[in-house]
């Protein structure tokens, strides 16, 4: 337990000083003694000769909310694919905590280990109700046998209620997910990630296609998650990033170009060049 407290303390000092809310920051088995939850080291990925990731190194701290920006083709989505096991790196390593080598696990296993991912295009199970979507995502056994015998416990029902309130879909719970608005689907997908109780959330363009009001509410939601979970957010909307970001990482051509606060990276000559200079 000692190490947990220390790492939280370290974390708190190391960036913007927000008080991390208490909660399930750590699950047994995940070693984050150095305060980092994700390490990407020297990762390269090529598709038919195109280098999508070029010796990328990056790490995310426990409880941190990190924003990733970069022009199209910078490798943002490929990086998420590598972390979640969808794509295998040609070289380099990806570690979850100190000890879990992500290259050795399948997508489903990585999700069970505690990494949740939201897709660029909101992806929910459209034929099911909002509540059923959350039920499927709830943390728990994932075997065929368990699914045949599954019954919701009171505790799980409470958890679903809690999530529905959090993602503001309480009144839509019995509605078919396919009938939700675009922004509501984004929220539902975020709710499904949270239902898995992940320690690290990867969000690919969570506010794409949202109205300003929805964007604002999403920013609020992510800020409440910060500290309880570690988050990596890929976005293009700079106003949104300004409203949530502590630390921003700029990717370009498959590698980290700059890292710092939003103001710092926006002032960086090289960053201005990749965004405007072509």
């Amino acid at each position: 337990m000692m190490s947990v407290t220390t790492s939280q303390a370290v974390q708190r000092e190391s960036w913007d000083g927000d008080t991390p809310a208490s909660g399930r920051l750590l699950q047994p088995g995940l070693d984050v003694t150095h305060g980092q939850i994700l390490y990407l080291d020297d990762i390269s990925v090529s598709f038919d000769g195109f280098r999508a990731l070029n010796r990328l190194s990056l790490s995310i701290g426990v409880g941190e909310l990190r924003c990733i920006i970069g022009p199209n083709g910078a490798g943002k989505t490929t990086m998420m694919d590598v972390i979640t096991g969808k794509t295998r790196a040609d070289s380099g390593s990806a570690f979850f905590g100190q000890t879990i080598n992500l290259a050795q696990h399948s997508e489903a296993e990585i999700a069970q280990l505690g990494i949740g991912r939201k897709f660029q295009k909101p992806t929910v199970f459209e034929a099911m109700t909002v509540q059923e979507n959350l039920e499927l995502a709830l943390a728990g056994p994932r075997s065929v046998w368990a699914s045949l015998r599954a019954r919701l416990t009171g505790q799980q029902r409470d958890r679903i209620d809690e999530l529905l309130t959090l993602i503001r879909l309480g009144e839509q719970r019995a509605r078919q997910a396919g009938l939700l608005s675009h922004g509501q689907k984004q929220w539902l997908e975020i709710g499904m990630l949270l239902a898995q109780q992940p320690q690290l959330l990867l969000l690919d363009e969570p506010v794409a296609g949202m109205t300003d009001a929805e964007t604002e509410k999403t920013a609020e939601l992510l800020l409440t998650l910060k500290g309880r979970h570690s988050l990596m957010v890929v976005e293009h909307d700079m106003d949104f990033i300004a409203s949530i970001a502590g630390k921003v990482t700029v990717l370009a051509e498959g590698a980290v170009l700059a890292e710092g606060t939003l103001a710092q990276v926006q002032a960086d000559e090289r960053v201005i060049e990749v965004y405007l200079g072509r």
Binding site: A108, T123, L136
Partner: protein, 366 residues
């Protein structure tokens, strides 16, 4: 959850008129064998052997359609090889029926006629034990199940899906058909098995036997519907539709779709095998023609026309198309395939949810 489930039940089964219609059909099906056995052939209430066999055959098809729908309608895996599992089940039962002929064949030999014809002196090893009905039933269910397990494991592990999966299943049934056409394979070549005499000592064409086989088919269909209903309304069933609609989302929720697909795929194949085992003693013949790719495609058409993604739909579809087929092939034999093709196109264009969708739409309007 309890209320949600009962609400869902009410929603799925539908309103009172539909329930009554279902009960009436079931009562009729249960009455048919009784009318066959206990009424005088001259009476207007008498159900002829022809009718009983025809309806029994269609009920077997309905079970296959249901099994197909579990993998296609619910899980999104379009199999164009389900006829193979059905035929294998039929062959399993056929082996027993051939052995039960005993010395009453044309050659009065202990061996089935086709083996005598091929000048074989002993039973091949895979025919051992086939004189027992219980073992034949094990084969009828186990062989399709095992084949589905091996094929499914390889295909799903390699993440083969969509049209590639369909083509592979089609190739599988075609290859099996060619294999079974060969005399050396040991299943009667292109003639298959026929001229059955008896089952468990009872005459295969006796009214009592026909009625019993018919009743067993009705029971299997009802049991399959009940099991299917329970399955698709469980969490397992929702995971199946999740595989169909957003498989990658499901994977990133921590589920490995492999085992779910494999489970329903194997269960579906085994159900087809059982249906095949009930089909063969009723129609009295099984040959490799049952494995032809066209047969498997027809199964998919039953499901599409009836309405995939529902349990009643495929049963309706199989019933409707096969009833139409038996009428058409007598009245206008040369136009049947045009009608079938036209029906399929019309369903795809105008009735994406099939006949059941049509019924439900009327209900919703009312």
């Amino acid at each position: 959850m309890q209320t949600a489930l009962s609400l869902r039940l009410a929603h799925r089964i539908g309103p009172l008129p539909l329930k009554l219609a279902g009960a009436a059909i079931l009562a009729l099906l249960l009455a048919m064998p009784a009318l066959h056995v206990w009424t005088d052939p001259a009476s207007s209430l008498h159900v002829s052997a022809y009718t009983l066999t025809l309806v029994g055959k269609i009920l077997c098809y309905a079970i296959v359609a249901l099994a197909m729908d579990l993998v296609w309608g619910y899980t999104g895996l379009l199999s164009l090889g389900h006829g193979l599992f059905f035929a294998l089940g039929g062959y399993g039962m056929g082996m027993y029926l051939m052995r039960a002929i005993g010395h009453d064949g044309n050659y009065q030999s202990e061996l089935p006629d086709f083996m005598v014809f091929l000048d074989w002196k002993t039973l091949p090893w895979f025919w051992q034990g086939s004189e027992h009905l219980a073992w034949a039933l094990c084969l009828a269910v186990g062989v399709p199940g095992l084949l589905a397990l091996v094929f499914g494991w390889l295909a799903f592990r390699s993440r083969i899906k969509g049209v590639y999966f369909s083509i592979m299943t089609q190739a599988l049934t075609y290859a099996a058909m060619l294999l079974f056409f060969r005399n050396e394979t040991g299943f009667g070549g292109n003639n298959g098995f026929t001229d059955f005499k008896r089952i468990l000592g009872y005459g295969i064409a006796a009214p009592g036997t026909r009625a019993t086989l018919f009743l067993l088919t009705v029971l299997l269909l009802v049991a399959a519907l009940a099991a299917g209903f329970w399955l698709v309304n469980s969490k397992f069933g929702r995971i199946l539709t999740a595989i169909r609609d957003a498989e990658s989302r499901l994977m990133f929720c921590g589920y490995n779709p492999l085992y779910y697909k494999l489970f329903i795929w194997v269960a579906s194949a085994m159900l087809c095998g059982l249906a095949g085992a009930l089909y063969v003693p009723q129609v009295g013949i099984i040959n490799p023609g049952e494995m032809s790719p066209a047969n498997s495609i027809e199964i998919a058409i039953w499901v599409a026309v009836g309405g995939r993604g529902s349990l009643i739909g495929p049963v309706l579809g199989a019933g409707f198309i096969n009833a139409a087929k038996s009428w058409f092939t007598v009245a206008f034999p040369e136009y049947w395939l045009f009608f079938l093709g036209g029906l399929f196109i019309a369903t795809t264009l105008f009735l994406p949810r099939g006949l059941l969708g049509l019924l439900r739409r009327h209900k919703e309007k009312a």
